[in-house]
């Protein structure tokens, strides 16, 4: 704010001096030039009259020749004075307007507005650096849950796009250099409401810089970094970055899982999919020869995962030397039939279009499908705004780095229990995954399941704590009973139980007795969560579910019932 005033005053110096000089000159002239009164006697304007006259002349209001008609000399001077003062005014007002249009001025106005709105944030918020596809999606998902964010990006149009989104909460946004520590501080890094920093720009080095700055300035704040290479991942981890998300790695591991244990893949896919997306049919990729177009960061991660599962890939790459492609790689982009023939498209069972250009990826898929219609197709979609064309292209598996990063980040931040669950689940057998899938399918309609955590603590589940205090055991069964009909189950499955001492149970049984400090991960339909919240907050509902009796709520009834039973 101070900056703006200084800038304004500094720029207005010369115009204001011009206005004062024009006025002073006109006034002095009017005072010095002799005039006549209505009787023809010589008369001179006083300073007061001159100031009055010049004031309405300069602003072109024009009351006429006051108090007496002017002599010709006076009129001559008035003509000169009119042009002088009007030009001075135009100059001053023009400078003011051009200042308002000025890029630097508008930037400092935007900066002042941003710092003010950050200062007024009273609830926990995440600091999101880089609002590309991933950042934008992440902010929207957090906003859906009522969590606020503060966004900074180097690109103004991205901030503008964010402000046009119809979000439930207000997101302050600033266009500035995200790698600059002072920007981070202006965005509220040091505020105690700041719940975490997310470095989601496309450039690893910038993310690294953000992580270092925030770890130095606010060592206790969790930091999440997007990274694309193993090299920078190791670097980020070296100074204590809490979470590192590499979208290519995440996808490559999932993809490899599709070959080995499709049910497990389905579990992962469900638990980490976009909210309320329709339940997708699962396409199982065939084993055999695969063609991989583009051997960049994505291609390398996929090849590594696939060769781990014993699946051979033929690489098609335009820049073999630059990407250090292995022996036997075919030179070309993969968009031409000749290159694909060379790579053995007729014998291949699947193709992966993994270049960093969306148009090329689509072209690869279309060409390949012409040559071999039976191919299993996988495409990397780099830009979110190409959604529509990728959807109609009917591709078996789509890889969207932005979506993967955003989903992973939201899970890490809002449902840390889910990450623990997936880690343990990954170690289980395919049979176990089959059981889980059939259980979850049993409670679902046509939408993907929601996951949520229930923490047994006074703040979240006051009714349960109250029951435990009275030494009435509360089982998991009580939570998943429908509070409206105690014979029915809510459409949800308890997935994972983590006790206060960090002992963990996968798929806990219904008769598990809850303790204070337990955290339980559920998955199921969204409305089941709402009803479960009702149960754990309402002592009467919970008592009825656990004991089958209505609890007497008034003091008199309590006394009566005690004496009746005792």
């Amino acid at each position: 704010m101070k900056n703006i005033i200084y800038l304004l005053l500094r720029r207005m110096r010369l115009p204001l001096v011009a206005v004062i000089l024009a006025y002073a000159l006109s006034i002095i002239g009017m005072v010095l030039i002799p005039g006549q009164d209505d009787q023809g006697n010589p008369w001179r304007m006083s300073f007061f009259h001159a100031f009055y006259f010049v004031s309405f002349m300069g602003s072109t209001i024009g009351f006429g020749e006051i108090p007496f008609p002017f002599t010709d000399t006076q009129r001559l001077w008035t003509t000169a004075g009119m042009y002088m003062t009007v030009i001075a005014w135009l100059y001053a007002i023009g400078s003011l307007f051009s200042l308002f249009q000025d890029h630097a001025f508008r930037r400092s106005v935007a900066y002042a507005r941003f710092t003010r709105s950050v200062r007024h944030v009273r609830e926990p918020f995440y600091l999101v650096c880089g609002v590309g596809d991933a950042g934008n999606l992440l902010i929207r998902k957090l906003a859906d849950q009522g969590i606020r964010s503060v966004a900074i990006d180097r690109n103004d149009s991205r901030i503008q796009a964010l402000s046009l989104e119809d979000l439930r909460v207000d997101i302050p946004g600033l266009c500035a250099d995200v790698a600059d520590a002072s920007t981070l501080m202006a965005a509220g890094l040091l505020k105690h409401q700041c719940a975490g920093v997310l470095a989601l720009t496309d450039v690893d080095n910038v993310n690294l810089m953000i992580a270092i700055s925030s770890k130095l300035l606010a060592p206790n704040l969790p930091v999440l970094c997007r990274s694309e290479t193993h090299d920078s991942e190791a670097n980020m981890a070296s100074f204590g970055t809490d979470y590192i998300v590499n979208p290519y790695d995440v996808f490559a591991k999932r993809f490899a899982m599709m070959f080995q244990s499709p049910s497990m893949y389905l579990v992962y896919e469900w638990m980490t999919s976009i909210r309320e997306a329709p339940l997708r049919e699962f396409a199982r990729p065939p084993r055999g020869e695969w063609i991989l177009c583009g051997y960049g960061r994505f291609g390398k991660a996929v090849r590594e995962s696939l060769s781990f599962k014993g699946i051979h890939t033929t690489i098609v790459e335009a820049d073999i030397a630059g990407t250090a492609a292995p022996e036997g790689a075919i030179h070309g982009r993969g968009t031409e039939a000749i290159t694909l023939y060379e790579a053995g498209i007729e014998q291949a069972v699947g193709i992966i279009a993994g270049t960093d250009d969306d148009a090329n990826n689509l072209s690869i898929i279309m060409t390949a499908r012409d040559l071999n219609p039976a191919l299993f197709t996988i495409a990397r979609q780099n830009m979110q705004n190409n959604d529509a064309i990728f959807k109609v292209a009917d591709i078996d598996v789509l890889m969207q780095p932005g979506t993967i990063t955003a989903q992973r980040a939201v899970d890490l931040l809002t449902t840390p229990l889910l990450i623990d669950f997936l880690r343990l689940a990954g170690e289980q057998s395919e049979d176990w995954a089959n059981v889980l899938v059939s259980r979850v399918v049993g409670v679902l309609t046509d939408r993907t399941p929601e996951t949520w955590t229930m923490t047994i603590a006074r703040k979240y589940t006051p009714a349960v704590i109250e029951m435990l205090r009275e030494n009435t055991p509360v089982t998991l069964q009580a939570l998943i009973t429908d509070p409206r009909d105690s014979t029915a189950r809510l459409p949800c499955v308890p997935l994972f139980l983590q006790r206060a001492d960090y002992s963990e149970t996968l798929l806990p049984e219904d008769d598990t007795v809850l303790q204070a400090g337990d955290r339980v991960l559920f998955c199921g339909q969204d409305h089941a969560r709402t009803h479960m919240r009702w149960t754990v907050n309402n002592l009467h509902a919970l008592t009825y579910i656990c004991t089958g009796h209505d609890r007497p709520s008034g003091t008199v009834w309590r006394w009566l019932s005690k004496h009746q039973s005792g």
Binding site: Y6, L9, R10, I20
Partner: protein, 127 residues
């Protein structure tokens, strides 16, 4: 040589000298105090104020404050003059003249302060 500093010094010293010229003379004698001089002192003092607009240095801010004080005193004197001559039956009296001159005397003090600060700054920053 810094042209900005030259301009400011010129205006601030001119404001002082003009004001001094107006102030000089018998306190309540209208013949000793020239209205043109008061007008010139006010205009020059206003310009000196505007020249300090947007100065972020500490000394600049103090100079802005002292010249604002001078402006206020001079504007009060000018309004008093205009009102007494044009809006009262008695016109200019020695008592009112004395008030006007003492107001300009206050402005003179502020001008002197400005010049002292300016001189100090100039002496301290030898370049």
């Amino acid at each position: 040589m810094n042209l900005e500093k030259v301009f400011f010094a010129f205006f601030i010293v001119l404001a002082l000298t003009l004001n001094f010229g107006f102030f000089l003379g018998e306190l309540d004698n209208p013949d000793h105090h020239n209205v043109y001089e008061l007008f010139a002192a006010l205009v020059v003092s206003l310009i000196a104020t505007i020249l300090k607009f947007g100065d972020r240095a500490h000394i600049g801010a103090v100079l802005l404050a002292t010249s604002l004080v001078a402006d206020l005193q001079l504007i009060a004197a000018v309004i008093l003059w205009a009102v007494s001559v044009n809006a009262t039956a008695a016109g200019m009296t020695p008592a009112i003249m004395a008030s006007i001159v003492s107001l300009s005397g206050g402005a003179l003090l502020a001008n002197i302060t400005s010049v002292i600060i300016l001189a100090t700054e100039t002496v301290m920053f030898r370049r």
